[in-house]
């Protein structure tokens, strides 16, 4: 049997996903016994023309991380789709849009204004803003088009599997490499992580959920044995897929939702908003005025960043409209 050919690509993202691949440590050697890495820009010198030269479906598995922020991301996504037999949406940004997806609260113009002109650390006296095409002494220079809207990988190409996480958990990566090298392919379109919510694997003691007030970390001493929600701390666990290995919970920090939604609740943020709004201030609810309610809700700082930290582009309402 010939060796599997695998590739990695990094689109609009921080790059942590690729570091996570290295975190599998010596297990990568097992992988290399059965697989050749044919394409990995972060560690190998490779040019567009080299990819174009590859035969269609010649890459067995392509791990694509990052969201689709600009023309180059989309071009590569389409190209790699063509060249790969199996395309895995790898990491939170590729799967749900990730943190870069929060830019959907803005558009190209406002992002550029902020980054290139308004930001206090930027010195840009002529106020230059990137253009797709500009004249220079050396001739015409081009840049990929920066989109108004950040998309997920599966919004531009068909995806075979999803492996979420920020970054994807090492255990799951190792398991995926193992299973593909042994030839046991999971069901197409599936998420390569457990089909349960984080609450189910969480060991913390769960009480009756009636949140009187949403608190921030500095406002309370966190009991490491008790459910965060019971302590008034927003934890995305109820609406988040398990499989991360719970490093945040072990560090006494609540889940921020990087593993994305659970099957059946495709809009992770909406699921959590529905849950939280149902239990917030529920005690003596009828005696509360609208003002009291506004105040309770007002205690949730940065609601979109809280509920849609990793999934704004993949949610039902995926960007700011006006």
């Amino acid at each position: 049997m010939s060796k599997l050919k695998i590739g990695f690509y990094w689109a609009s993202t921080c790059g942590g996903c690729e570091v996570a691949v290295l975190d599998v440590n010596e297990k990568i050697l097992d992988t290399l016994k059965v697989a050749d890495i044919v394409f990995w820009p972060v560690v190998m010198d490779i040019k567009y023309k080299d990819i174009k030269a590859m035969g269609d479906k010649s890459v067995d598995i392509c791990f694509f991380n990052g969201s689709i922020r600009n023309g180059e991301n989309e071009l590569l996504a389409k190209l790699l789709r063509k060249k790969s037999r199996i395309l895995i949406s790898f990491g939170s940004c590729a799967c749900g849009g990730g943190v870069p997806g929060l830019a959907n609260l803005h558009n190209r113009r406002t992002v550029f204004e902020k980054v290139y002109r308004e930001s206090v650390s930027t010195k840009n006296l002529p106020g230059v803003i990137p253009r797709t095409c500009s004249e220079a002494k050396e001739g015409e220079l081009t840049l990929p088009e920066f989109y108004d809207t950040v998309k997920t990988l599966d919004q531009v190409v068909n995806v075979d599997f999803y492996l979420p996480g920020c970054p994807p958990p090492v255990d799951l990566i190792a398991k995926v490499l193992q299973s593909f090298s042994s030839g046991t392919n999971p069901k197409k379109g599936s998420v390569l992580a457990p089909e349960i919510s984080l609450c189910e694997s969480c060991k913390r003691e769960k009480g009756n959920k009636k949140i009187a007030k949403v608190k921030r970390f500095h406002e309370t001493a966190l009991d490491p044995k008790k459910c965060f929600l019971d302590q008034g701390i927003i934890c995305m666990g109820p609406a988040t897929r398990s499989g991360c290995g719970e490093p945040c919970l072990d560090a006494n920090m609540p889940c921020t939702g990087c593993m994305g939604p659970i099957p059946g609740a495709s809009d992770q943020g909406a699921a959590m908003i529905g849950a939280l709004s149902s239990i917030l201030g529920i005690e003596n609810e009828k005696e509360k005025s609208e003002n009291d309610m506004d105040q309770l809700v007002g205690e949730i700082k940065d609601p979109v960043g809280t509920f849609y930290k990793y999934t704004l582009p993949s949610s039902i309402i995926n960007r700011r409209v006006k």
Partner: protein
């Protein structure tokens, strides 16, 4: 889901819908949607021929979904469900699109836009219907017994009505005796019957009725279950007197050395530490007031024990808990009196000659603390002038907005009694509006006017006391004369309003009942279901639902009994098929649903090593709160799944 055969029926509702919406155009557009086999418009879908058309089509055209675009489902959803059922279609495969209240009536002046909206609403119903699944009503047996909470006139009436029909009734009363406020009243308006004379025979009936078990000096602590099958835990407070031995002779009270203010006489008279609240109490059993008894306070005395000839005193008595199984519950907890002390400008509780209406009743009552003599509390003299101040705590944005409904007539009756006892006395009633709406009330008002009572239209602004003779100066605006004036009176009677009982919240949380903005328990429908509540099998009798005079309280209590008798005599109840269900594999056991369920219908259970939520089907009302709160979407709200709702949203937004 490929073989949906949808029939759509667009109702003209006479001109109610067709006058605004182009119903033919709606039918045409809808007929072109996928899976729609036919789309018809008709003058009155709810009429016999309209229903017959639907039934015929279900049979002939093999329809398996029916959409009726007409009025609100509130009235006619049962009609069309029944029609579908008669034609062999599961009733839950009928969808309604409300194109009257939500379209033609609100867009009367924009017929074109209304038509576009009607098309969208019907298309949404079509899109949803594809996701509808056949559901079944559920039947549960009913325990043929009732719990009546509260032993005032309403609770007494409800209990007797149910018991006379042959149902077992458990009547729970918080205080040592039944009778309620009515027992405190002297005469009743407008007939001037003696209140106790008409009440006490009914109280005795309660104690003798073979179907009634009276639990006086008891409180309902918890209620579980659902219509037909409630379980109530009732705490019997210790009387320290063995009820089975006490003969009610009263020797103990005679010998008891402790005098304390009597609650029944509102503190105007005294009682002993071992007491019955009033001579006609039912059950006529004595009760030791632990707070004031010398034995409990100082471990001395025991006079009652020494003198009791039947050995009924039992200082070691403990609270006892009783569990009752009933099929229906009637709430007849009555009302409290507004505390006039909140209206500081009237000096109630400071000036001794300012009293409230109920205190007047005790003073004028022959068995009251003054043996029926209305005397000024400050000096025991007969008053030569009496002022009645209306709407104290009622019709007042600083207290309660509602009208307490009894105080106008009560003051008229009391004014009449003053005139009767002291013909020369000057009696004035300060009012906003005189509300004398009941049978014989206006005539009584007329009579009191004839008797020389003065009526001054205007709210009293302030009452001041002359420190020398304790006379009262009322400052008021006479709005008919348009002048501000002051006048002196010997006695002022405040017509204090009626408010929800202080313990209403406790009972509300025990039963998960709703309350209106006035704080009283809320009926299921203000006009058509005035004695039902939002909880099936729980009914409201008397003033627990809102201020009522005796005739109204009795009528409401009787109505509650007859409504409660429906499930009791049916022997079984049908429960709605639209309920929540849990996918136990998906459930993470986060317990959010359990916290939000208003009906206590969700309990956690162990399932293959993990905690999962489960729906107690008979308790579930299908409200859907758990479904929307569930972060893993493992709770499915039958008939309103997320997929169905999203399909509706998409259908509405399509054009």
């Amino acid at each position: 889901m490929a073989d949906e055969r949808i029939g759509v029926y667009i109702c003209h509702c006479g001109t109610n819908i067709a006058g605004t919406v182009d119903v033919e155009k709606v039918a045409q557009r809808i007929a072109g949607l996928p899976n729609v086999v036919l789309a018809k418009d008709y003058k009155y879908m709810c009429s016999e021929p309209g229903q017959a058309m639907i039934k015929q089509d279900i049979r002939d055209r093999k329809l398996n979904r029916v959409i009726v675009a007409s009025c609100s489902p509130r009235m006619h959803e049962p009609t069309f469900r029944k029609a579908a059922q008669e034609a062999g279609l599961n009733p839950y495969l009928v969808e309604m699109a409300n194109i009257r209240e939500q379209c033609s009536w609100v867009h009367m002046k924009e017929p074109e836009k209304a038509t576009v909206k009607a098309i969208a609403l019907v298309a949404a119903a079509v899109a949803k219907s594809v996701f509808d699944e056949p559901l079944q009503m559920r039947e549960v047996p009913v325990t043929p017994a009732a719990l009546v909470i509260g032993g005032g006139i309403a609770g007494i009436q409800s209990s007797l009505d149910l018991a006379d029909q042959g149902f077992k009734v458990h009547l729970v009363e918080k205080t040592p005796s039944i009778g309620g406020h009515m027992a405190q009243l002297d005469k009743t308006f407008p007939t001037l019957d003696c209140s106790a004379c008409i009440l006490t025979p009914k109280m005795v009936d309660i104690s003798r009725h073979p179907n009634i078990s009276l639990l006086a000096y008891s409180e309902v602590k918890a209620i579980d279950g659902y219509i037909g099958n409630f379980k109530a835990r009732v705490l019997k407070k210790p009387r320290y007197v063995d009820e089975s031995k006490c003969t009610g002779c009263g020797l103990c009270a005679e010998k008891c050395p402790v005098n304390v203010p009597s609650e029944f006489d509102l503190g105007l008279g005294t009682r002993k530490a071992i007491y019955v609240p009033f001579p006609q109490a039912v059950p006529l059993r004595y009760t030791i007031d632990r707070e004031n008894c010398l034995y409990f306070k100082k471990n001395i005395c025991r006079a009652c024990e020494k003198f009791c000839t039947s050995g009924a005193i039992d200082f070691g008595q403990l609270p006892a808990e009783v569990e009752l199984e009933v099929g229906a519950i009637i709430i007849a907890t009555g009302y409290d009196l507004y505390d006039a002390g909140h209206k500081a400008e009237y000096g109630y509780g400071i000036y001794r000659n300012v009293i409230n209406g109920l205190e007047f009743e005790r003073l004028v009552n022959a068995s009251g603390p003054t043996s029926g003599k209305v005397l000024r509390p400050s000096d025991g003299k007969a008053p030569r002038s009496v002022a009645f101040v209306q709407c104290v705590g009622s019709r007042d944005k600083n207290a309660n907005l509602y009208c307490s409904r009894v105080c106008c007539m009560a003051s008229l009756k009391q004014a009449h009694q003053i005139k009767e006892k002291f013909p020369g006395a000057e009696v004035s009633i300060f009012y906003i509006d005189m509300r004398c709406f009941g049978k014989g009330y206006e005539e009584f008002y007329e009579r009191v006017q004839q008797e020389g009572v003065r009526f001054i239209r205007g709210r009293v602004g302030e009452i001041l006391e002359n420190p020398d003779d304790k006379n009262l100066v009322l400052r008021f605006e006479d709005t008919l004369l348009g002048e501000v004036a002051e006048r002196e009176f010997d006695l002022a009677v405040l017509a204090t309003g009626v408010i929800p009982r202080a313990d209403t919240s406790e009972l509300q949380s025990i039963l998960k009942l709703s309350r209106g903005p006035d704080g009283f328990f809320l009926e299921a429908h203000p006009k058509l279901r005035p004695v039902e509540t939002n909880i099936d099998g729980v009914f409201l009798g008397g003033a627990a639902q809102g201020p009522k005079d005796i005739p109204d309280a009795v009528a409401q209590a009787g109505a509650a009994a007859s409504r409660a008798a429906v499930p009791l005599s049916m022997g079984k109840v049908e429960l709605e098929g639209i309920i929540a269900s849990v996918d136990e594999d998906l459930c993470s056991g986060c317990r959010i649903c359990e916290s939000v369920c208003e009906y206590g219908a969700i309990k956690m259970k162990e399932k293959s090593g993990k905690q999962v939520s489960s729906v107690i089907e008979v308790l579930c009302k299908g409200c859907g709160v758990c479904g929307s709160a569930c972060p893993t979407k493992s709770i499915k709200m039958c008939h309103f799944t997320d997929d169905a709702i999203l399909a509706q949203v998409k259908a509405v937004l399509r054009d």
